[in-house]
Amino acid sequence: METGADPSLDSLREALRDRGYLDNRLDRLILSSAGSPHAWLRGALKAGLAAGVFLAFPLLLILIVQNSPPITAPRDILLLGTYLAILCCLLTLLVELAAAGVGRIISMGLGRRGPDPGKLAWGIGSVTALSFALYLSLWWGGREEGGRALGTRVAVLTFILVISLGIGRLTSLTALLSLVKVDRPPHRATPARRRRILLLGILLVVSVLAVPWMKSRVPERGANPPGFSVTPRAGRVLWIGIDGLGGNLLRGLESEGHLTQLSDLAKRGCQARLSLPPADPPALWVSAATGFPPRRHGVSGVETAVLPGVATPLAESPWTQPLVRAASLLNPWVGRVGEVPRSGIHRRDKAIWEILAAKGFPSAVVNWWATWPAEEGPGIRISERAFFRLESGGAPDREVFPPEEMTQLQAEFLRHFAPGAPAGPDARLPAEAGEGPIMDEFHMTQAGKAWKEGRWPLVAVYLNGPDLLARPPVSPADRAGRIIRDGWLVDHLDRLDGKIADLFQAAGENDMIVVEGDPGRGDSSEDDSGFLVLAGPGIGAGLSTSGQLLDVAPTLLRLLGFPLSKEMQGRPLLQCFPPDSPFARDSPAAVATYGQRPQPSRTASEFDPEVLQKLRSLGYIR
């Protein structure tokens, strides 16, 4: 009869184990199946489940810790653990069943005269271990993360080795069961059941305790930086981003006599050549707004796959993509795995306008990537989903802030862009233009309105621009030629160019205009680059320089009189500022960090499928 736990017995057992008695519990867990009519099958099932948990647990830990931010919500951890356990167990079950099957075939084929079953089983286990080690190493090495720090590599390789050896060992036991012809030895329950339960309990307690500990280690997101001073600037900044307008296309159009206003602006101010990493538009434009690379700010593409129920956005990593892909294969048993457009939910870093809001500076932001849900703060936010909502109707879901702006936007949308309206879409536009030019005009109008109101220190607007033509069948290589040849997009750009000139005219004497362009999707080849044109008082005329995408945010901070963040990798484009310029002279002391955005409470909205559809029709998703 089982009595209470006996520590002296446990220590005795351990002491005996140290002296070579008893042995591995795992071995016995598998081998204790011996004697049942289908020992090999039972062994394979047990080994598969054991190996699955063995594989899933460290994977879960790695996923939790290496995700940025670390996953600390207990519900997320539980769900991820469940997904991982199911997937890993299915995978290892297949491996174990295959090993057992091979063992059965060998034992049936060779009969009693076959080689030593122990050696055969060892061989099967070794092959499995080697395959796992090889596959995992190749998979890891084939990733960008393969080039990480030595410590990480050693840790990962050790982990791979341990997992491979463990699974190899279990597989050899399964193979052994299927190779030997076992009569019916007595079935025995594992005596250490209570101890195992205790161990699991401890593990659970440790895991539960680990959550608050990890939470305490995660820098509190959304916290404002400690007090910092701002140098007051007299002027406002209008920041216009045009997607798909790279340096090459800009020069090509200028040489053909287009975009005259922009050329003029560049001559009056400073033009910088921007080197860009290859990435999707949302990643690049969010990098420009936050000053951080996509890996950090979290918006690395147009859409992302999510695991249902897991609220913490999963960072791109070698672990998450296979997990999501495998989970989608299990659909619907694991649950629906959905694609959601990346949005502000996935953005971890503060954009310029949020940094401004920390000091109570209002801004007007129109259509910038990853601004949905429109964050509360001083100013106007027309998120990247506002246009889609206006088109499709339905109850607004935080597309605009303040929410009452939506009514006015709806009225304007109907007045200008509804079919049949007097100021409807340009009839000359070909079908392939889609609604991109309409969107640009609408957004430019909103930005212009805000700019002319004159009460926002920063007005930022993102325009789809020629990037709209990036979708098939136009390949990136012949896009520039096509744009110039077709003409309608040139006309569109010229119209935007005219509006930029209008806004420049409307600017106050201290106001600055910043126009940014990048080559767009698939065209950030080495011979092309983005550009940044700065014009206004305090900016040197006719200057040119070069920088990188991450310099945009620090440059804007400098123009607005805000301190730089030591976390940002970029630096302000100082060459654009003459020595006597206030932007060269006065700069407040840099802050260590501006902090990160508050953790989102969910990853998806009901509007997501429609937004995806819209993005697809615009060619952002293939």
């Binding site: 005996l16 008695y21 122990g118 009569d183 019916r184 025995r188 005596p191 250490a192």
Partner: protein, 327 residues
């Protein structure tokens, strides 16, 4: 020296002992143990008898003119015992279809070595025992001088039998001799006895107990199994598994023996006061703890037999029998 034999005999058949380690609810599979207990009992008695006959043939015949040494040797070697070691050796060899003619001489050598150790262990300078296998000990019957000589006579004969065995290849012969020598040496029986003589007023701890057990009792047990594997030409992986089987089973057997000491009436077991004074596994872990350890050890021993497949059936049955379990 190896006391469980002595006491077990006085308890009658192990499977019917009222105080043996009970089969707990762990062993709940109602179906089929490995080899039926009745078959195991038959096997044990048949092989014990065969070994007895072979020993009788190997031992020098009693001779009035030899100073009584042959009689003294025969007195202990042929005394009624279960002959666990030679029977286990034969069973292992049989599992690999080794002919009995090849394994019997070595089995007899093993039993002679065991008998030698019993004589020496009972001497007044060691345990000073009066009874062995229900009869007066050798030195009580023949005097200390002759008892010592009989022990050496048996030891010498054991090696002689192996050396002269025509059924063994040269390689096997040296293997058998070397295994026997290891089991008897300072890391084996002799070393264990020396440790057992060392007084420990505070009672023995696990380390000491295990050291004494593994040398005094375990080494001959392991050697029996290993010799069987050698004679049966067992593959290396199975030989290793058999060694682990013997190691775990040997300790389980020892603990069961300690349990018998602890739970039986003193008169019924011929209880050795030595043991209690020195401490044993029951005094370390309590009756229930020792019972569970014995179960776990024998479980582990049985698991190691998995590699043998159907060949392990008899050994499995023997193991269950030796640890007093029905399944």
């Amino acid at each position: 020296m190896i006391k469980f034999s002595r006491r077990r005999r006085s308890l009658g058949k192990p499977t019917t002992r009222p105080n043996s380690v009970p089969s707990s609810t762990h062993f709940r599979d109602p179906s089929s143990p490995a080899a039926e207990p009745s078959r195991v009992r038959e096997y044990l008695s048949a092989k014990a008898e065969a070994v007895g006959k072979a020993l009788d043939a190997y031992l020098p015949p009693p001779d009035a003119a030899d100073g009584g040494i042959a009689e003294a040797m025969r007195y202990t070697a042929l005394s009624p015992g279960k002959r666990i070691r030679p029977v286990v050796l034969l069973a292992v060899a049989e599992s690999y279809s080794a002919p009995a003619s090849r394994s019997m001489p070595t089995a007899c050598a093993m039993e002679m070595v065991h008998a030698c150790s019993l004589i020496l262990d009972d001497l007044p300078c060691m345990d000073d025992a009066e009874l062995r296998r229900g009869r007066p000990t050798s030195h009580r019957v023949y005097g200390e001088d002759r008892a010592v000589l009989a022990a050496f006579g048996l030891l010498n004969l054991a090696y002689g039998i192996v050396a002269a065995d025509p059924s063994l290849s040269d390689e096997m012969r040296t293997g058998v001799a070397s295994l026997l020598s290891e089991a008897l040496g300072t890391q084996g029986l002799i070393g264990g006895q020396a440790l057992d003589l060392t007084p420990s007023p505070a009672g023995r701890n696990l380390h000491e107990l295990e050291q004494i057990h593994s040398r005094k009792t375990g080494s001959l047990f392991i050697a029996s199994v290993e010799l069987g594997a050698l004679l049966g030409k067992a593959p290396e992986a199975e030989r290793q598994a058999l060694i682990q089987f013997a190691k775990n089973l040997g300790l389980a057997y020892q603990i069961v023996d300690d349990l018998l000491d602890a739970t039986s009436e003193a008169g019924a077991t011929g209880k050795d006061s030595h043991r209690d004074r020195r401490g044993n596994f029951v005094s370390l872990s309590g009756v229930e703890g020792a019972r569970r350890l014995a179960e776990e050890l024998s479980d582990c021993a049985l698991d190691h037999l998995t590699v043998l497949g159907a060949r392990g059936a008899l050994l499995r049955g023997l193991a269950l029998h030796l640890t007093g379990r029905t399944r």
